[in-house]
Each structure stands twice: as C-alpha cells, then as structure tokens.
Amino acid sequence: MSEFNINTAVDFCGIPMKNPVTVASGTFGSGMEYSDLVDLNVLGAVTTKGVANHPWAGNPTPRVAETKSGMLNAIGLQNPGIDTFIERDLAFLKQYDTRVIVNVCGHSEEEYVDVVERLADTDVDLLEINISCPNVKEGGIAFGQDPKQAMAITKAVKTKAKQPIIMKLSPNVTDIAEMARACEAGGADAVSLINTLTGMKIDIHRRTFALANKTGGMSGPAVHPIAVRMVYQVAQAVNIPIIGMGGIASTEDAIEMILAGATMVSVGTANFFDPTITQKIVAGIEDYMRKYQIADIRDLIGAVR
C-alpha cells in the first residue's frame, strides 16, 4: 500500500498547487495568527481576509453568534487597507512555500480596480474578488446578486489585473449557475463558492437580535449540503475551474466537494473549532487516495455527475 504513488498537485488557472487545500477568506487572517499552530508550508494556498483600497472599520459588536452546527458573522470586512496589507501581510506570507490568493473587496467598481492595480506588480498568485459587498452606487445591492453587475465588475477587474481572477459567488441568489456564467462571460479565470448565506438569530432572553447588524452571513457544517449542490450546478454550467467551500470540516467533506466539481477546496469556519483542521485534511486526502487506489487527484474532480 505504502508504495502506491499518488499525485495531489493540481493546476489552478496555470498556477501549480501542491495540493488542493486552501483556507476561506476571513477565517484565517493572513495566516500570521495561525502560524504557530499550523505549518503554512503544508497548504496548497493561503487565501487572505478581504482587503480594500483603504481601511474599513467594520460593523459594531456583537459580530458573531453561534447557531446549530453553524455560525453567523457580520464582521463588516474590517481590514487595514491595501498599503498595510502589502507591507505587512504579504511580506509575511512570502516567507512560506505556499501560494497566495488575495481576497479583494470594494464599494464601487473603482475601489475594486484600485486594489487590483495596486496588486498587479506584487508577488501574489491569484486574486479572489468578493462580489458580496454592497454596491454603494447601485443602492447597496450586492454586485453578486445581479448577473449584469457581476459581469461588469469581472470585465473591469480583468482589464487591469495581472494575476488570474477568481470571482467569489454569493449563494443568496435564485440561480447560482446564471451568476457563474455571467462571470465566465466577463472573462473570469475561475469562480469560488459559496460565500455565506444571509441569516438571523434572535436572543429570546434579551429579546433582541444576536448580532448588532441584525443579519449576518451563515457558515459552518450546517451549510455544507447547500454548498455541494451549488458547486455541482456551477460545475455543469461553466468551463472554468472552481474553488469549493462552505462547511468543510473533514476530509470527507473536502472529497465530496471535489467530486461535485471543485478543483480546490477552502476550509473556513472549521478553523475556529479545530485550528489544525487544514493539515488534517491535506493528510486525509492522501489517505483516501491510497485507500481507494486513486493515483491522481485530478481523476476525482467532478467525477460524480
């Protein structure tokens, strides 16, 4: 058994990854805080917390609430702005042998493009564009809830970006496949999904909302089946690669996502209850492949139709 050779490396938009495992934006900072618990060199890539062209203060607290097998968050994309990000966070990550995916947020097309341009000449491997941000110019409706806006923002960032562009899709839509097709038509190199599902929790003892923001994004194991369904639907609809995420908390969950059509997988909320889960999943995927004598992980991608 032990002599059976396996390949866990994947090619993602032309970027070789030693394995398909990364972290979900916003759950891992820029890796610094986790680096004395997790060997970042083991990960295929680190995906960083969303960064804008200037610092964002985020929402009032409470910003998180626990729900059954899940959680709600309304952090509000607090971030230090692109300058500090490049000087501190990116410099930190470049010490490691892992790929860097930078998650980008903005309130307008100009703000997204600004960040993308600032990153153009840096040593970043891929950009992930979070289109769940409210578009201030269009009355605060998220870019990710309207296919026309999603296509427009994809085109805008594509013309300025030097790295491949991953459009991160919101699950808060009627037809996720339509959103993915709009991004592909706009020139996206890849899509990632799912972002969080809008939810609400009420504290019955205090008779108030659990989150200061009233609503928050739901994540964690409770959303996993929804994420698997959406990754599958998107995989059938587009020809660009997918990063699958949403509730991944075990090797089995990660394999499921790959079988549904994801080339890479991100682990998010699970980092909060199992800080070394990413390493366990990297090792677990290898064990799974040996157990079922699968020589190449690429044979698993979208294998279930």
């Binding site: 805080e33 610092p55 203060a57 985020g58 998180v64 097998s69 230090p80 500090t84």
Partner: protein, 262 residues
Amino acid sequence: MQKTEEMATVLEQQALGSNIFDLKLKAPQIAKLAKAGQFVSVYPNRADKLLPRPISLCGFDPKEGSLRLVYRVTGEHTGTEEFSRLQAGDTIRLLGPLGNGFTVEPGKKAILVGGGIGVPPMLELAKQIKAQQLCEQTIVMGYRDANTFLLDEFEQVATTVVSSDDGAVGTKGTAIDAILANHVTGDVIYACGPKPMLRALRDYARAKGMRCFVSMEERMACGIGACLACVCQSTHEDGHSNVKNKRVCADGPVFDAEEIEL
C-alpha cells in the same frame, strides 16, 4: 505570544454554590506558558456547538501542570452546562494560553477589583502579586448575592472588602461603593467584571489620578486574533487594521482603560 492546542484531563470538578463551577484540569503545556489574566478557549464536545468558550485562568501551577477554571453556567443547553457535567478522568480540548494578561506595575499600590464572573481571574493575579512581592494590594470583590465564591481564598492572600447587589454581604451596591465605604486607596486599579463596573472604575481612577487596567469581554470565534469578531473601540488607531478597533482576544483582554472606549 505562544499558544498551543491541548487535550486536557479533568482532575476534579466541584460546584461553588448555584451555577458556579470550579474545574481543575491537567494541561501541562498550557500551564507552563500561562500568565495571570490570560484565558483559554474551551471547546464543547457536542458537534453542533462550534465556537470555543473563552474562560479566564483562575489559577495555574506549572509544576503540577494544572489549570483551574471557575465559570458560570449561563443556561440550559449551553456549552458551559456541558462543561459542568465533566468528571475526573474526562477530557476536554483547550487552546491557550490566549490574550495578554495583566502586567503589574511594581511598587505601585494595587487595588484588585472583580465583579460577578470577573472575580476568578483576579485570584491568580492576587497570588502572583503576593508571591513575587510586587506591591501592596487590597482586594475588592463585587458579588450578586450571598454566593461569595472564592472569597475565603482571596482573604488568605490580602485584605479583602466585599459588596453585593442585594446587600446580603459587605457593602450593599457595587465594588465602587465598597471602595468608598472602606476608604480603600491605591495607585493602580486592576479590574475584571461587567462593563458598567469597569466604566465606573475608569471614572473613579480618572478623578483620583490613578491608572486603571480593565479586562474586557466580547463574543469570539477564533480566539487568536484572526477573524476580527471580538473588537472593542479604541481611542487611537489600532496596530492591526488602522481603524479604532482593538481585538479583545489578541490585543487584550487587558487594556489600559484610557486606551479603549468603555
């Protein structure tokens, strides 16, 4: 700050009056690194409860490799209710030690104030001040009612005065009322407890020209400074995000009261 994930073994657990529990754990790696005022993330075993519960270190013994947590069960079907059923030999997963802890100013007469479930972390601080002969100290404990958990242990360390919300023990009212009634004086306040108490102590310290250090509480997810869930507003730009938000779990939980908006 060094931290580690450790599977702790329960040495013993007992109730300290209604709903307050005293849990002694074997966790040598965390005990070795711990400092007074730091906390641990305690992970419920139930898979549907995802988030760690932050609980302050009420005590630790690096030689024995043990930790002591004193906590309140907040309600039915909660994580803390699950912890209250732990028995000797059971295991529970921890991440720690987390946060900055208290830094004592040597030679400056200290007033240690604990209110409600902010009482436990002050015990280890009081013990360290005494053992290392850092400064003179007076202890002020604010309880809800007659359940004066840990009071006997504080009294063994230093002069202790007490208040209770209902007047059952000590001065009726708040910790501030006990400070005034007993003419407690000092140079620096170290405090942990509910926000209104911390606010009152900050104002009192300001009026008297004293320094005041407070331990803050906020909802957490990662517990280690990565997710930005647990912020409190700061008076100056924070070093992490260039806004005015300090992370309670990583920049705190202990802050100079003038450094944050209470």
